[in-house]
Chain length 272, copies 2
């Protein structure tokens, strides 16, 4: 079994992919772009794809969800909430006091701004295209360090100096697992929907009524203008329950009649 993820190896996506590969006794395959991950699953090159969808350094919600809406046979088969914990790593032998330059993705540098000011004042900060590229660059310099995942940096041969150096404690990324097989109900599931509505007063209200009357709890809603047609809106909706649950199935029948289009992106076990 193979799991595709957004590479290169050593990023947070890669770290989570390795964790999953351990659980599922699978191998991981890095791809250079989100689209390539989705297409690898669609073409059957891999059984699972791992894509970040919220609050991520490495990806974009809309790209992923739009593709899911277009690629017919794909399903969301699971979700993972992964903590982003930045570490400071350096080549063997380099101590805190010797560091003259720190490499990382601009967003990771930004998330460790306070730490860098207090612990490495005056040290040069050099942005990189990914934290994996930061690891490679730090290895080439005599007095450099990199910020990224501790496991990722160590896999590149760097030594861990300090852990949990991000300024904010709570920094999570939500990932989705993509596959081709529908997941059966577990009793603790979530369903993701993509639907489009006409831009007119009450259209969303009427649609949500089908879920409210079945006492279905929504866990996420996000709108954006459709890129295809003016005056049309796209909604991403997550709800508690499985599409085969009687109440969910009934609400979906009503919603389908109401919306311009409605697609179940998948029903899968909830991460929390």
């Amino acid at each position: 079994m193979k799991i595709a993820y957004l590479g290169p190896a050593g990023t947070y996506s890669g770290e989570l992919a390795e964790e999953l590969a351990g659980e599922l006794k699978a191998a991981t395959v890095p791809y250079p772009e989100l689209e390539a991950v989705v297409m690898a699953v669609s073409r059957g090159e891999v059984e699972l794809g791992l894509v970040p969808v919220e609050n991520s350094l490495e990806g974009s919600v809309n790209v992923t969800l739009d593709m899911l809406g277009q690629v017919e046979e794909l399903q969301i088969t699971g979700e993972r909430i992964y903590p982003i914990r930045h570490s400071l790593l350096a080549p063997a032998g380099v101590s805190m006091g010797e560091i003259e330059e720190v490499f990382s993705h601009p967003q990771s540098l930004g998330q460790c701004r306070r730490y860098l000011r207090q612990r490495l004042p005056g040290v040069r900060q050099t942005p990189c295209s990914s934290n994996a590229s930061a690891f490679l660059q730090a290895l080439k310099k005599p007095r450099a360090a990199a910020i990224g995942s501790s496991r990722g940096g160590q896999s590149y041969g760097l030594v861990l100096l300090e852990e949990n150096i991000q300024d904010e404690e709570e920094n999570y990324t939500r990932f989705l697992l993509l596959g081709k097989e529908k997941q059966g109900p577990t009793g603790r599931d979530k369903t993701s929907l993509l639907f489009s509505l006409k831009d007119e007063p009450g259209s969303l209200y009427r649609l949500l009524g089908h879920f409210a009357r079945q006492k279905i709890n929504l866990t996420k809603i996000k709108s954006r203008p459709s890129r295809k047609r003016l005056g049309e809106y796209i909604f991403f909706l997550d709800l508690e329950g499985h599409s085969s649950d009687q109440r969910v199935a009934q609400a979906l029948r009503g919603a389908r009649a109401e919306a311009l289009s409605c697609k179940v992106l998948g029903s899968y076990p909830r991460a929390f």
Copy 2:
């Protein structure tokens, strides 16, 4: 009059700030962080603040909107939809064929991936913390170029080589204008709300009912879990109309009674 924006000068935020400054006969003041822009308005150091809220290279929705929710006396006083059009710029005398290295923010490089592959194959791509920093670095090298706003790059002394080089035609960023003075109704307004709800079936549906019954059109909805309390959700909602319109005022009264909290972030003229 002064307009604060997320600096440095030469970014897309800076380009739009200059445009506004021309319209309003104001001066622009760059700040290093979004929070600093919001606080500058709050403390009265500037009259207006310009902050990106959607689809931006440089900012984050949640940071800005959360701050608006907390800083009592601040209002959204306007919005701007700004097209992100990337240009290739180089120091005077450098032609396309001579370029050996291109500097830009990783996301700008990503948005010009196809262009770079076709027009500058094999050219080294070097990520920077902002497009303004890319302009500075390109100036220091003999055979380099940078990607960013054409006006921004030229203000740093670079020469425009090619315009509109982004892979996708449609790339807009929505900006908000922040101030302290409430805007009166113009007949073509939008109102932004921040409210929190208990995480239970039907809570959003009931809340939206107040707007649907008044035939108020919603233009945006976005949910996220509250960071303060488990089982509580925060919603950002934009609707057509001014908070002083009779129908909007009546819907807001109903919504206030329904939600755990509800704050009008501002009523302001619609950009489109």
